[in-house]
Symmetry: C2
Subunit: 199 residues, 2 copies
């Protein structure tokens, strides 16, 4: 009895499958796509197709890129002795923004009992091989400062215990611009634990 056109229903259903997009938002977006310039809507469709046609995981670092090896791995001007190990391809651009100029290794997730993610689901074997074969002076474990990120870092540190170079972890402490009276006690505990010498 729904008199709504089947094509519109299909678009709403498809949008509704995106993470964080509920039925109401999906409907709003669908009608937006019907209202805007046809070209505007079709450009979005094309962008989705392009990205799925062109973008693959880099076979070296496993970040997402249209070329393989990716732009970072093939850029010889970058510091070839520094490797930053991150969980997710998205995090790469965060580090790029702050001027990091070494190489990356994307784990494609982190260990999680809850989500059933085991070491073999991540690109850990490839990381170990890369470190073994490479000439890295430093490997920095840049997994997230939470339970699962820490657990993943601990496992990696264990597996890389034979690594001859420097094995590091991102600093934990007070977030820039925060106020000591407002931060959580675990942040403050990190800040005390990781205090730096000024002398």
């Amino acid at each position: 009895m729904a008199s709504r056109d089947r094509t519109i229903e299909t678009l709403i259903e498809r949008l509704n499958r995106l993470p964080g997009i509920g039925p109401k938002t999906a409907e709003r977006l669908a009608f937006h796509l019907l209202r805007v310039d046809k070209d505007e809507a079709l450009q979005l469709a094309k962008a989705i197709e392009d990205v799925r046609r062109a973008v693959k995981n880099c076979s070296m670092c496993f970040q997402l890129d249209a070329s393989d090896p990716c732009g970072v791995c093939s850029d010889t001007s970058r510091d070839q002795a520094m490797l930053l190990v991150v969980e997710d391809p998205r995090e790469v651009s965060r580090f790029e923004e702050v001027g990091y100029r070494g190489l990356y290794h994307v784990l494609q997730g982190r260990l999680s009992q809850l989500e059933g993610i085991r070491p073999e689901d991540l690109t850990i074997a490839q990381l170990l091989k890369r470190v073994d074969n490479g000439t890295f002076a430093e490997v920095c474990l840049a997994t997230n400062p939470d339970l699962e990120g820490e657990g993943t870092a601990r496992l990696l540190a264990d597996k890389l215990s034979q690594f001859g170079g420097k094995l590091t972890r991102l600093a934990r402490g007070l977030p820039a611009g925060s106020s000591i009276s407002q931060v959580s006690s675990s942040i403050l505990a990190d800040a005390i634990e990781g205090r730096r010498s000024l002398s």
Copy 2:
């Protein structure tokens, strides 16, 4: 210096142009579309293309549909003597859900000084012609119960003053399931003003 792939950037920019989708959400959605089954992502692209290829405004009632006249206008089993005037094509499916079985006229907006929407920007001329030529026993003005919806209804009532049938407006009052101690005073004022006789 952004090492992120151009194709991914384009998709993020395109998603970011959608209403209510900020840069962070756009990035999340883009990486979701990169992570899911290729087919899943391409189905969304196809749904957007399909909808823009197939769906047009019905030349009678101006709702969005793949056929013209639309499914409602061409359904002779519906009550041809009842016309419901709504602002937006989306509202049609709300009325369908609650079992309305007459015809519609979609204004494609409402008068708004703030947004510079004038009577000639809406399908008012077409509505007047339809009512003139039609055999409607009732025209119900179902614009929204807010300032601009009321203003639009007032203009329409004025223009339809020569209409021989019943001219109605949706009831205003307490929303079902609400509590009198919680509703706003304007809702309560509507409820008193519009009280119905039980005898």
